[in-house]
Symmetry: C2
Subunit: 352 residues, 2 copies
């Protein structure tokens, strides 16, 4: 965070985002629902997937690339699985609806799996994987990334995205275990950040189309990201793409548009969520106690020399959430300026 960064209370950020979406044409309740989820992303520390995306979201709505008043509907419905059509609405709305449906199905049958098509970028994967937690369920989320930055292993053509996977498991006294990861070594947002800062990228983040290491983030367009574990990360990205994209008749491979550049075009983003009810397996309280014990075994296990602390997946994000709820969301100068520009463009009161 730069020294010129200030803090904004979550509530203030939420009402600003709500105003912006209402001005962009969303119904009040929808604007508020998207704003809440975007602020939750910032609270969780997903700085590249929260309010920073507002200018792009608004640009896409105004360019006709996203439908401000979607009719989200169930295309196919079985007792434990369903397919939704998001009608090109904001991804947050589509995925919220999908998560609710998955949770209902899990209550009734033990597990619910809901896929969506004609959705859009929905922020960080953890937002949705964690929705089942309060119902004593495990959440699993898969999405097709909103850009292709990853080629097949051995290839030089980016036909795959940094397709994220998130799984959230409830704990008792401990924070929930929340894995939220893309199958690439670095997220594309980190590449952009390096470019902004004029820094070189470490070896292993990207290669160029000849397969040579690419460390200049300004040349990112001339290459692509590298998957974790070589062919393994490629396989993960591909499989996530099939589960979240192909199965839902959403865009995958050559059909994925560049949602930053092609603002007027529908992305047909695909996502999927599963909610798995713990009570099939044991009483939820018993499970959470077992998870607490396991978390502590991991945290208190022998450390490598020089390591201060062993973290559980999602633990740092949870700590950030507590801190930011208390002290506000960091607001770097550049971000505030871009939000001010959105306010002017939409004719709404600015954040300040």
């Amino acid at each position: 965070m730069s020294e010129e960064s200030s803090r904004i209370p979550a509530e203030r950020l939420e009402s600003f985002i709500t105003r912006a979406f209402v001005a962009a044409g969303l119904p009040d309740a929808d604007a508020h629902a998207v704003a809440r989820l975007m602020v939750e992303a910032d609270l969780r520390g997903s700085d590249t997937h929260g309010v920073i995306r507002l200018p792009l979201y608004v640009r896409r709505i105004r360019a006709g690339g996203v439908n401000a008043k979607p009719n989200i509907r169930v295309l196919a419905d079985r007792p434990s699985a369903a397919l939704l059509d998001g009608d090109n609405g904001m991804g947050h709305l589509v995925m919220k609806r999908a998560a609710e449906l998955a949770i209902d199905k899990a209550k009734a049958t033990g597990i619910g799996w809901v896929g969506v098509r004609m959705s859009n970028h929905a922020g960080p994967a953890a937002l949705y994987a964690t929705m089942p937690l309060r119902h004593d369920m495990i959440g699993l989320y898969f999405a097709v990334g909103s850009n292709n930055h990853l080629p097949p292993w051995g290839g030089s053509e980016s036909l795959l995205g940094t397709n994220p996977l998130a799984v959230a498991v409830p704990a008792g006294a401990e924070p929930p275990v929340v894995l939220d990861m893309a199958p690439t070594v670095a997220a594309y947002g980190k590449v952009r950040l390096k470019a902004q800062r004029g820094e070189a990228m470490p070896l292993g983040w990207m290669i160029d189309r000849q397969g040579k290491p690419l460390t200049d983030p300004k040349r990112a367009d001339e290459g692509h990201l590298l998957p974790i574990g070589d062919y393994k990360g490629y396989g993960l990205s591909l499989i996530i793409g099939l589960l979240a994209g192909a199965l839902n008749r959403a865009a995958l491979g050559r059909d994925v548009i560049d949602f930053v550049k092609e603002t007027g075009k529908a992305a047909n983003t695909g996502q999927a969520i599963a909610a798995l009810s713990i009570d099939t397996f044991m009483p939820a309280d018993e499970f959470k106690r077992a998870i607490d014990r396991f978390i502590r075994d991991i945290r208190n296990s022998q450390k490598l020399p020089g390591v201060e602390r062993i973290w559980l997946p999602g633990e740092q994000s949870h700590a950030k959430m507590l801190e930011r709820r208390a002290h506000g969301v960091p607001m770097p100068k550049a971000l505030r300026e871009s939000l001010d520009a959105v306010a002017r463009e939409l004719g709404i009161a600015s954040l300040a």
Copy 2:
């Protein structure tokens, strides 16, 4: 494969394994079911997870560590989720039963998720993830590895296994897409192979308890495997452990025994399988045609210089299966000798 390797027709290998398990006390049908799956592992090219494990399996049965005549039963049953108790039977039998139940549930409700406890090592993950394929379903499989070889990220105590994940997606004219991976850079079997051959391991496979690179495979006990993508592979292993182990009241973390050394002890291995029916989303034929097109887009995309071919996950394994079905399973001299020893020990006709 060494020059002293010969080929054994799959049928011959299958009847040898069946004989061995019958002699070890398994009912005929169970012995045959395990033999079929073990040979399928070898046909698929999972040389470290097929018949090579027979001596250990027999040793564990004879030492009382595995129950030859289990009463596999359903502990909890909901319309789309269930928990099985494997009664410490061979993992192959427990997981076959679990996959069948998951498929039945997916037929009835759209998706079926079945977890198992008191199971055992069941061979390669792909065996079970591919079972739903012939029913036009996608299969997902998660397992707790049968040994702890991976510490948390930053830790030096192996509290996690090379917990495998497999996902299988049906195609039409193309082979199915089958991802079968552990979240570590190298499998432990590869380390053993390097030790046998007297070769050094590449950097990045293992580190010692001080965090220093470990390249001598004979010193493998002094260190641990490294996860793919650093903390990401750690997170994957942990989450797979929660889904396959903790949720099923199976062993995880400190409760995981060393199933190679503690042959007389029940492992309480946990596994989970999900079957997801494609027909909720679209007719299976339409889906398979789309997958075929996507596979060809990937395969025919631009290659990096020097790359001959882009492979899909599971494609090389599928090619091996066709080749080995036609020409037999490779049988290196050392493996044959270990099988001869099993035959002598059990008083059955040898493979030759």
